[in-house]
């Protein structure tokens, strides 16, 4: 099972994952994109951090405005 999740997690690499994470701030992900991203995040600490940080930056920009 461990190796299966490793394989699924590497259907996209970190470069592709970060592009997708950024895009999902601006458009909905397709089903297949969402699945691949979820599998990747399940095995990647760095991209999981990136995902949270991008969401945080949006929140910070909202506060910045008011």
């Amino acid at each position: 099972m461990a190796s299966l999740s490793r394989i699924l997690g590497h259907l996209i690499d970190c470069r592709q994952a970060t592009r997708l994470i950024s895009q999902t701030q601006d458009r909905p992900a397709t089903g297949w994109e969402a699945v691949r991203l979820r599998w990747h995040l399940a095995v990647c600490v760095a991209c999981t951090r990136f995902d949270r940080q991008v969401a945080f930056m949006r929140e910070a920009m909202r506060r910045f405005r008011s």
Binding site: S22, D26, R27, A46
Partner: protein, 191 residues
Amino acid sequence: MDGPSFTAEIERQRSYLLRVAVLQLRDRDLAEDVVQDTLLAALTGQAGFTGKSTVKTWLTGILKHKIVDAIRRKQRDPVLEASLPEEMDLEEFDGFFRENGSWQEKPADWGDPESSLARKEFFDVMQFCLDKLPANTGRVFMMREVMDLDTDEICKELRITANNLWVILYRARMALRQCLEQHWFGQAQAR
């Protein structure tokens, strides 16, 4: 609302509008012109205020359009136009990743970033980081995040494709994230 108090209410929002405009345009003189335009439009178009939203929201809506007009005029500026294709090029920019697609330098743990939102210094650092973005990238990022325009609107206004826009926003987020990590969250241990 009667005439005089309505006028006073509009004037009261001036400093807020100016702050938003300066943030977006990064040009104080231009921002003042845009706010002036907005207030004038509001005062002459009082009838447009239906009372369904607050005066602040209504004014912000007018301001958005004025800012977009100002950006569009700037966009025709040949100096700015020249750098835009470069800012949309994704391959130019892949120093963040190794050839195999893994991080060159992994994002750090930011701990509890929300607690920074209560600190004025954090927003000073954010302003510093926004100012460091390439001019068009910064402007487009602000349209999306500060003015909350949706991607269709931005593409239409700037006459760029959705793909161009995603690249610009991606670059903005990558650069802003790295800058915040370097100048704020990287220092977390010391705080």
